[in-house]
Every structure is written in structure tokens, then in C-alpha cells.
């Protein structure tokens, strides 16, 4: 039987890279980001095996013998090579495709707004002695990224803590949404990619003559675009402290 050799040119293979054609993409991914790389193998899949390899700088998540892989790039910028090999096991002929990927510094980060002070919300109201009541403070998470990089959404976790025992947590809501409860720890808050800030309303209740410091801390920030996810590079300030200042402890009016 005449042996038929299959050459590289008879196999149509091309690599697909993930979306996001702006600041970062599969060719120039941010350090720490997750991207998908794919090929369209030979339509005749009989006796074919596939192998993905990378020269360094990242980790292939899961199987390396499919038509696509997910790669989580590491934190070291540089140029790395992805190699895909399709082998016809019946003939031992193979085709390789390579893709040079330049891992770039991740410029995405979330940051809390500046610390601030404000009066208890009852300021200006007529109050009785030892008055107590609700007061709401508003925290802001700010998105920082390359302006020409479009994303679908961004996410973060957060915690709320406050000093002293005079106050109690009443409600927490994100961007005008429903009450998330008073656990003090909240995960997976999702914000549209077109919004550059996220506002969190934290309502407490306590005596107007006492103050408290409310600390808001974010974590696990991530930007999402299609199948790509980019973690927060951690350079932003993850804490914001809003101080609720007490009202003057004025006595009742006395007269003769």
C-alpha cells in the first residue's frame, strides 16, 4: 500500500485567540489574567491527538489535549510561546502551530475613595435628650483600567466593620439594590463594565452623641470580558474609613 504522508500544508489549522481587541487580549494579556486559546483542528479527527504547551510565564488550567485551553498568566511580564501540536497517530505526522504571547503589566485595579468624616444624619433635627437614630454612610469603589480596554463587568467582595459597641448595623446595599443583610461580609458584587464606580450604602443606628469609625474593605477584585478574567493588581487602596462624628451633647432648654 502506497504510504501517504500528510504534510503540514494539507492540514488546516489556525489558532483562535480570545476576544477583547483593546488594551489587553490573548496576544498581549495582562499579568495574572485568564485567557482562552483555541484551534480548529483537521476536520478528519480520526487518529488525531492534540497537545498544548507553553514555554513559561503561565499555567494551562486543566486538560492540554483538547482543541482549546485556558491559560492563567503569571505576574512576570515577558514574551512566551504557546505551541499546539496535532498528530496523526496512524502516520506519526504532525502539525505544529505556535503563538508568541507578550504578557504585559496589569494596569487594572480597584481602589476605595478617600477617607472622610460626616455628622450623624440627625444633625439639624430637633432631638430629645439621649437621642438615638439611623445614619447612613456611602462608600465608593473606583474602577481603574486602560480607557481603551472595554470590559463586560467587574466584581469585588467586601466587608464592613465599625468601632465601639454603641452602634449596630441595620442594612447594606450596593448601587441602590436590595438589602444584603447585616452579616458584615459580602461576596461577588457585580458592576457593569461601563460604570467606573460602585456605591455602597451602609446604614447604622446609634446614639447621636457618640461617633464611630466605619471601615469598608474590598478584596478579590476582578475584571471580566467574555471568557477573560483579570484580577485586581492590588495597587489600589483597599480600605476606606468614614467617620461618623457625634452631635453636640446639648442639654434640654431650662428656664425660670
Amino acid at each position: 500500500m502506497k504510504r501517504t504522508f500528510t504534510y503540514l500544508l494539507t492540514i488546516s489549522v489556525f489558532l483562535l485567540i480570545s476576544a477583547a481587541a483593546m488594551a489587553q487580549d490573548g496576544l498581549t494579556p495582562y499579568a495574572g489574567s485568564l485567557h482562552t486559546y483555541s484551534v480548529t483542528p483537521d476536520p478528519d479527527s480520526s487518529n488525531k491527538t492534540y497537545l498544548w504547551e507553553i514555554s513559561g510565564g503561565g499555567t494551562i488550567n486543566g486538560a492540554t489535549d483538547g482543541s482549546s485551553i485556558n491559560v492563567t498568566w503569571g505576574n512576570t511580564p515577558g514574551t512566551y510561546t504557546i505551541t499546539f501540536t496535532e498528530t496523526d497517530e496512524s502516520t506519526s505526522c504532525s502539525t505544529q502551530r505556535t503563538l508568541d504571547v507578550e504578557v504585559i503589566a496589569n494596569t487594572f485595579f480597584l481602589a476605595m475613595a478617600e477617607d472622610a468624616e460626616e455628622c450623624h444624619d440627625s444633625t439639624g433635627a430637633v432631638l430629645s435628650a439621649a437621642a438615638s437614630g439611623p445614619t447612613t454612610v456611602y462608600f465608593t469603589v473606583e474602577l481603574n483600567k486602560d480607557s481603551d480596554w472595554d470590559i463586560d463587568s467587574w466584581q469585588y467582595d467586601f466587608t464592613v466593620n465599625f468601632s465601639g459597641s454603641d452602634y449596630s448595623l441595620q442594612s447594606v446595599s450596593v448601587d441602590g439594590g436590595s438589602d444584603l443583610g447585616t452579616s458584615g461580609s459580602y461576596a461577588g458584587q457585580t458592576v457593569s463594565g461601563t460604570s467606573s464606580t460602585s456605591e455602597i450604602a451602609v446604614e447604622l443606628s446609634g446614639p447621636v452623641a457618640s461617633g464611630t469609625d466605619v471601615t469598608f474593605t474590598i478584596s478579590n477584585g476582578v475584571a471580566l470580558s467574555g471568557t477573560t478574567s483579570t484580577p485586581d493588581n492590588g495597587t489600589g487602596d483597599s480600605d476606606q474609613v468614614l467617620t461618623i462624628n457625634p452631635l453636640p451633647n446639648t442639654s434640654e432648654i431650662t428656664t425660670d
Partner: protein, 267 residues
């Protein structure tokens, strides 16, 4: 029966809500009264602002004068023109360096005062102090009746224990030729026609009335008799509470006389 019950209930309601007389106080001041209003600030360095509002708690009252609007303690003088029964609100706002503030409000209802002064003559009748003095002028006797000492008392009622002193205007009505000179108990003095009392006690007024007229044998037997009528007005406490003269007891009199002996007749 039902109609009577409803009328009775209406009467009781009206009686309860009607403005009653009371001692002037900071929460129930009389027209013209001055009272002290105070707070203990949360911090003595904070800013303080006193404001008085009308019953709508929106319009600043023009009838209340605040002496120290930025102090922890102030007096407020209520105009004499305020109407008993009207409500006002005394507000104070304390603001700290962080612009945080606390607000206190005291409701005030103008109330007619039950303070009054009562004038009483010690005696309704009195004699001259001494015997008639006789002198001979142009071979005819001239009679000089001299002085009569008349005592009156002014007694205050329902003055506030938080304020000391009161005043009133004093006048005496005697016939022509009679000179009346008052002296007072140690707690009072007079300037022009106004008597000022330094405490909340009664005042004793002693008039020395000198009959400077001359009388002769042909004078009427009772020519020397007269009535001294003393009256007071414009009674007011030290903090501006006007007397409420509902009992109409601001005037009294003493009748002075001596036996109406006729002249000596002969045959």
C-alpha cells in the same frame, strides 16, 4: 339628655383650654415679661444660636427680644403686645467645629399673669397729730391744724420667686393747701412718682400731710376735715410682668378730722 351631656362636655373642654391666669414663667410668660433660658452645651467652645419662632415654627418672631443670641444662657423679653394664649417656640442650635449640630426647642405659651398689688390704708379715719396751734394776728385768732400722719401699705401677690423686686407709680389726692410728703419702709424708695421696691415684700408708705391753710373763728367747724386718697398704677415686677388689677384694689383713702367744734359764741 344627650344634648346636655354634649354641652357639659363642651363647657369643660372650653374651661380647660381657655387661657388661665398664672405666675409668669419661661414656658408661660406674661406679656412684657423677661425670662432666662439656658442650656448646658456639649462643649463650651461650640457655637450657639438662639431663635424664637411663631406658632408656625417657620417665621421668626418679632415680639421676642433675645439679649444674648450666641450664649449658653440668655434672657428673652416678650413684648407687651403679645396675646395670651398664643404659642411660640424657643429654639437653640449648638454647632461644633465639624459643623455637626444639635437642636433643642422649648414650646412657650403666652399666659396672663396673676401678679397684682393691693393698696390698703392702715386706717379709714385718722386724727391730726397734735392739738390746734393758735396765734393772734391783728387781734384775731388764727388756727393752724398742723400735720396728720397717714399710713398705707402696698402688698404684692404672686410674684415669681426667681426675680426680686417690683415698682409702681404712687399718687395722693388731698385738697388745696395740703402738702403731702411720703416716706417708705427700708425696702423702697421713690424717684419722681415711681416707687421701686428691692424685694418681694410689702411696702409701708407713711405720708406726713401738712394742712397749711389758716382757719379763723368764722371758718366752718369742719373746714379742717379732709380725705386723703392714695392710688397706685403701672405696677410691674422686676422682670417686666405687669400687675393684673382684676380686683380693682389700687386705691384707698383715709378721712382726717378733728372734733367739729364751733367758734365760741357769747351774748
Amino acid at each position: 339628655m344627650k344634648k346636655i351631656v354634649l354641652l357639659f362636655a363642651a363647657f369643660i373642654f372650653a374651661a380647660v383650654t381657655a387661657n388661665t391666669y398664672a405666675q409668669s414663667s419661661g414656658t408661660a410668660p406674661a406679656p412684657g415679661a423677661t425670662h432666662t433660658y439656658s442650656i448646658t452645651p456639649g462643649d463650651s467652645n461650640n457655637e450657639i444660636q438662639w431663635t424664637v419662632y411663631n406658632a408656625d415654627f417657620s417665621t421668626e418672631a418679632t415680639v421676642a427680644t433675645v439679649s444674648a443670641p450666641n450664649s449658653a444662657s440668655t434672657t428673652i423679653t416678650w413684648a407687651s403686645s403679645v396675646t395670651p394664649g398664643d404659642w411660640y417656640y424657643v429654639q437653640v442650635v449648638e454647632t461644633d467645629s465639624e459643623s455637626c449640630s444639635n437642636t433643642k426647642v422649648l414650646p412657650v405659651q403666652i399666659t396672663e399673669s396673676n401678679f397684682y398689688l393691693e393698696l390698703d390704708a392702715a386706717n379709714s379715719t385718722a386724727c391730726y397729730d397734735n392739738a390746734v396751734s393758735v396765734s393772734i394776728v391783728d387781734n384775731a385768732p388764727v388756727y393752724d391744724h398742723g400735720n396728720a400722719t397717714l399710713v398705707f401699705t402696698v402688698t404684692p401677690e404672686n410674684l415669681s420667686g426667681n426675680y426680686t423686686g417690683y415698682s409702681f407709680d404712687l399718687a395722693i389726692d388731698v385738697p388745696d393747701g395740703f402738702d403731702a410728703t411720703p416716706s417708705f419702709s427700708s425696702n423702697a424708695s421713690m424717684t419722681a412718682s415711681t416707687v421701686t421696691v428691692t424685694d418681694n415684700n410689702a411696702v409701708t408708705i407713711t405720708y406726713t400731710v401738712d394742712n397749711t391753710n389758716s382757719y379763723y373763728n368764722d371758718s366752718a367747724a369742719n373746714a379742717q376735715d379732709y380725705t386723703a386718697t392714695v392710688s397706685i398704677s403701672n405696677g410691674v415686677s422686676i422682670n417686666g410682668v405687669s400687675e393684673n388689677d382684676t380686683d380693682n384694689d389700687n386705691s384707698d383713702f383715709t378721712e382726717v378730722s378733728r372734733p367739729n367744734t364751733s367758734g365760741i359764741t357769747t351774748d
